[in-house]
Each structure stands twice: as structure tokens, then as C-alpha cells.
């Protein structure tokens, strides 16, 4: 894809904000009749460690032409895949379906869906007129035979995937009672070539691994990308001009610019929740200190000093605090401070070294990498350091990033070399539910590291 395409995607997401507003639980005027109102009827408590996945049937969406039918099939396929991959839904085997998709799109025969074990049912219809795609979608509660949601989306036909993700988010939100994370993207570092001479490029994809694109050309190594809260800008580290520095990358224009006037290396950037500043680390002498750079005035303010290597800062979602990684006490541990730089306190006290802290968008957890006894682990703890839970352990796993609803994390995981030539080494992305189940590898075209999850696009 080209930069023009990228701009088109961004324009869509602004439009999506318009129709997305009409979608979420609001009746669509002049659209579908008889929307069920009131709260979700099948809400499941997903704060428990593990829930039984909701059995759901997602027959193909019907269409007003052969081509529209194909689009309808594709949309249902993406929805099905999203729901299954969340680990919180169990799609009913399509071979067991009794009622045809076409008939269900007219009027569901609930006993046909009940008997095959579906608790929820989605039906839909795609209509193509020229380049315009209109998709009606309904979500049904099978047992009380009630419509939970009815929504229509309109978009250029090329954007059918985004409609599928928006529908998936509606289903997730109505059945689970909290926002979904399917209409999102992930920026990461695509790695190719031998390990001692790797090409590292920024790449971006939909959260389900589709629509893969490179953002940088690989002439300079790019590392640790992170999204701006408006998802239009990315902060990352680049070796362009031979000096490792934090850069800003604009997804609309494709332009890059160096951030700040630091004399030393700058690294580990993250945007503030209001998007107005970037917190990062800069090396000087024997130390690395944390700074915040105001994006309007470009004023740099030093937050830590003289305490060793302070890296990997991350704001709390309310912007009042910053969690970071420091070896000021001898080895790497996690510390929290006020956003202005005062009140530094250590929060990690378990066995081993702790690194790469990231604050959950919900504010209730901090995810981290732990290195202990030669093993790596991804875990979470409360912001006061209590309640530490390890979600996954293994070699070379690090760099957790939260989905915007705080329910799922992605990270990357290396496979160690099995010989002196580096044979068998790989780096891949994985996702996991914060309750510690549903660990899945994310398929990428190349080796991949440093994932960062976008906010919801619409």
C-alpha cells in the first residue's frame, strides 16, 4: 500500500466515528425497525479468572447480489475469527446449522439455533450499490428469542474488514458488557535477515494480522514503536543519521521527525494519555534519565536524575503517575513516580529483575517482563506492587502491550538459537488474556518484535 492508502484509511476512521456513534446501542433512525433497548441480556462476568466461552452462531451474511453475498461471507468469517480468537466465545460448528443463512437473515427460527447449542446468534445482510457497501447486522439472544442489537454500517466497499471489526466490537460489548478491541491495529518491528545483520522496519497490521504494511524502508533500524492516543502518530526509536533517537512518525503523511534536542541517545518513548507530550529516556554519562517533551512547545523537562539507568517510562491512564524501570537500587526493578517527577517508590519486590512496565488502560494493573533464573516471564501486578501474577513464562519474552480494553495483551517472544550459527532463532508476537489463558501466536510474514496496540480506531 502507499501513503495515499494510509491517508484513506485514516479518513475512513474519522467517518467511522460518525457511523460508529450511531452503531453503539443507539437506534438507527430510518434504518432497522424495533431495536431492543435496555441492558445486555446475556452479560457474562469476565473479571473471573476464566469463563466458559459463549456459544455463538455466526452464519454467513446474506447479500443483494452474488458479489454482495461474497462480501457477506467474508464479513461473517472475520467476525467469527475475531470472536473465536478472543477465547471468550465458542463458535458453534457451522456444519451443525439447520436454518440457512439466507432464511435466518429474514427471520431466525430460534429452535433451530437453540437445538445446536447456540446462546447467541448474529445475522446480517450486505448490500452493494456501486462502491457503497451497506451492512445490516442483528444480534439475537436465542433463549428468550429477543433481538439484542440491530445496526447498519455504510462504508466504501473496500473497507468491508473494518465493518466486520466494528460488528465484532458491538457483539463483544453487548454480550460481555465492556468495550471490545477488534477495530484496532498493531504497529511492530518486522525483522528480516541474519541475526547479526538484521533489517528492522516498522510494520503495521490489523489486530487479526491482516492488512500488513511496512511503514519504514529498513535503511535505518527502527525499534519500539508506540501509538499516539489518536492512532495517527507513532513514536519510535530510529538509527537514522547514525544516531539512535526518538522520532515521531505521522501515519497520514508518512513523514518522520526527530523529537527533542538531546545530546545523548533517546529511547523508550510513550505518549501521555492526552497526547500532548512524550515521556522518554535519554542517556548521559553513566546514567539514563527520564524526560517529558511537550509536543506543542517542544520544551524538555527532566524528571529523574543520577539514579542509574532509568528507562521504559509509561504514564498511568489518568496521566497522574509514571511507571518506569531502573537499576538505581542495584538491579532492574519497577518504580512509580508522580508525573512531575517526585515521590519515587519501588513497587516490584519479587524474585529476579523486572522491566518494561506498562500501565493497563483500565488503570488497575501494570504489566511487566520478569527475568529470573535465566527465564523470562510476562506478568501483571497492581500499581502498588501487590497481587503479582505471572501469565506466561519462557525464553526471551518481553515488551507487553495492552489492547485498549485492558483485557488482552500482546508481547514478543524469542526462540533461542540451537547452534553457534544462530540456527533456530526466531522472534514472534503472541497474545494472551490477562487472566492467563488463550495464549496465541500472532502470524506475521516475518519475524516480529516490539508490538504496540492502537486505541480503538472509531
Amino acid at each position: 500500500m502507499t501513503w495515499k492508502d494510509e491517508a484513506a484509511i485514516r479518513r475512513l476512521s474519522r467517518r467511522a466515528a460518525l457511523f460508529g456513534g450511531a452503531a453503539l446501542g443507539l437506534p438507527l433512525i430510518g434504518g432497522l425497525p424495533a431495536f431492543a433497548q435496555g441492558g445486555p441480556s446475556s452479560v457474562v462476568d469476565i473479571t473471573k479468572a476464566r469463563t466458559d466461552p459463549i456459544p455463538i452462531a455466526v452464519p454467513n451474511f446474506a447479500g443483494n447480489s452474488g458479489e454482495a453475498q461474497r462480501v457477506g461471507q467474508n464479513i461473517a468469517g472475520v467476525v467469527l475469527n475475531n470472536l473465536r480468537n478472543s477465547g471468550l466465545f465458542r463458535p458453534v460448528d457451522r456444519a451443525a446449522y439447520i436454518q440457512t443463512a439466507e432464511a435466518a437473515a429474514q427471520t431466525p427460527r430460534f429452535q433451530d439455533w437453540r437445538v445446536i447449542g447456540a446462546q447467541a446468534l448474529t445475522t446480517g445482510r450486505a448490500e452493494l450499490s456501486g462502491d457503497r457497501l451497506r451492512v445490516e447486522f442483528r444480534l439475537w439472544d436465542v433463549l428468550p428469542e429477543a433481538q439484542i442489537q440491530g445496526t447498519a454500517f455504510t462504508a466504501p466497499a473496500a473497507n468491508w474488514r473494518r465493518i466486520a471489526h466494528l460488528i465484532s466490537d458491538v457483539i463483544y460489548e453487548r454480550l460481555l458488557g465492556e468495550k471490545g478491541y477488534f477495530d484496532t491495529r498493531v504497529v511492530y518491528v518486522a525483522e528480516t535477515g541474519p541475526r547479526d545483520r538484521r533489517t528492522r522496519r516498522l510494520a503495521i497490521m490489523d489486530q487479526d494480522g491482516e492488512n500488513q504494511r511496512y511503514l519504514t524502508d529498513g535503511s535505518a533500524a527502527a525499534l519500539t514503536p508506540r501509538f499516539h492516543p489518536n492512532a495517527q502518530q507513532i513514536a519510535f526509536m530510529s538509527y537514522a543519521r547514525g544516531e539512535p533517537r526518538v522520532y515521531l512518525f505521522n501515519l497520514d503523511s508518512g513523514r518522520q521527525e526527530v523529537l527533542g534536542t538531546f545530546a545523548g541517545m533517546t529511547l523508550s518513548p510513550r505518549f501521555s494519555p492526552d497526547g500532548r507530550s512524550v515521556v522518554l529516556s535519554s542517556t548521559r554519562g553513566n546514567d539514563a534519565n527520564i524526560y517529558v517533551v511537550d509536543l506543542g512547545s517542544r520544551r524538555e523537562r527532566q524528571l529523574t536524575s543520577g539514579g542509574g539507568l532509568d528507562v521504559s517510562p509509561c504514564f498511568s491512564p489518568d496521566g497522574s503517575q509514571i511507571v518506569f524501570n531502573s537499576d538505581r537500587g542495584g538491579d532492574q526493578q519497577i518504580y512509580v513516580m508522580d508525573a512531575g517527577g517526585g515521590g519515587i517508590r519501588r513497587i516490584s519486590f519479587g524474585r529476579g529483575r523486572y522491566a518494561t512496565p506498562v500501565w493497563s488502560p483500565r488503570g488497575d494493573l501494570i504489566a511487566f517482563t520478569r527475568i529470573s533464573g535465566g527465564q523470562f516471564a510476562i506478568g501483571v501486578m497492581r500499581p502498588d506492587g501487590s497481587g503479582e501474577r505471572i501469565l506466561s513464562e519462557g525464553w526471551g519474552m518481553e515488551g507487553p502491550t495492552f489492547a485498549p480494553n485492558g483485557r488482552v495483551m500482546m508481547y514478543f517472544r524469542e526462540t533461542p538459537a540451537r547452534d553457534a550459527r544462530g540456527g533456530g532463532y526466531s522472534a514472534r508476537l503472541s497474545s494472551i488474556d490477562i487472566a492467563g489463558f488463550n495464549e496465541r501466536q500472532i502470524v506475521t510474514p516475518t519475524d516480529a518484535s516490539d508490538p504496540a496496540w492502537s486505541p480503538l480506531l472509531a
Partner: protein, 160 residues
Amino acid sequence: MLNSKVMSAFAALALLTACGSSTTDTAATGAGAAAGTSAGPRPGSQEDLVANVGDRVFFDTDQASVRADQRSVLERQAGWLSRYPQVTVQVEGHADERGTREYNLALGQRRANAARDVLVASGAAGARISTISYGKDRPAALGSTEEAWAQNRRAVTVVR
């Protein structure tokens, strides 16, 4: 190319031998060989530094202070730099793979700075020495063993 500059002494020797280059005779005698033999590497070049001085020092796990047994390499480098006043170098700091990327970038920088400080203390002009960190992202040894990690915790002096 930078990658040829950062190649370890061992790999460089292997490559030269494999290529059957006419310059291999002197280089193959390894670090510490007397400079000035007829077919040696160009004086003041990276190859000269690698063959006759040693281009790198190694660090202990999670440490960035120059070990006593590594100091002489940097002192020889400072002497070598004084013989070639037109040469500028960059000290590259590296870490092994048993850490997180961001912390290792900072650790690599600290190692590069530590090596540069010894060079300066040994008489080299600081203005001729820049530093950079590659963290764990450019290993010299590709294995996942103690031996490989020890080779990767390093600061490498590279002629620019």
C-alpha cells in the same frame, strides 16, 4: 560496510582465510602480531586495529565497568590512536540477549562510555571518539550459550 567493521576478530580471520586473499598471511598471525611486515593491513585501518591491537573489550553480566583484564586492550588502542592522529573512532556498546531491549540499549551505551573513558584516561582525545549503543540487537556470536553471551557483552572500537 558497518557489518564488516563489527565482525569479530575470529570471523574476520576466517573470512580472510576463506577468501584466499593475498593479505591473509600477516592477519592470520592474529592479534599482537608485529605491525610493519610487508603484506600487513593498511596502517591506521580497522583491519590494522583488529590484527595488531584488538578492537574490543568484554564485560561481566549486567556490568559496565571495564574489567582489569580488559584494560590493557584499551590502553593499546589509545597508543594506536596516538600513532594515527587523523583517525576517528566510534565505540559501540553491546549487550547479551538475556535482557530487555530498552534496558540493554541503555546498558550498551554505558559500556561504550566506560570504554571511551578509559581511552581518554589513556591519552586519546575525547573529540576523536564517539559512542553508540546497539543493545542486544547486533550480536557478534549467534548462539544462545554462556560462551556466546560472554562474546556479546562487549565494546567494539570501530574506525570511522
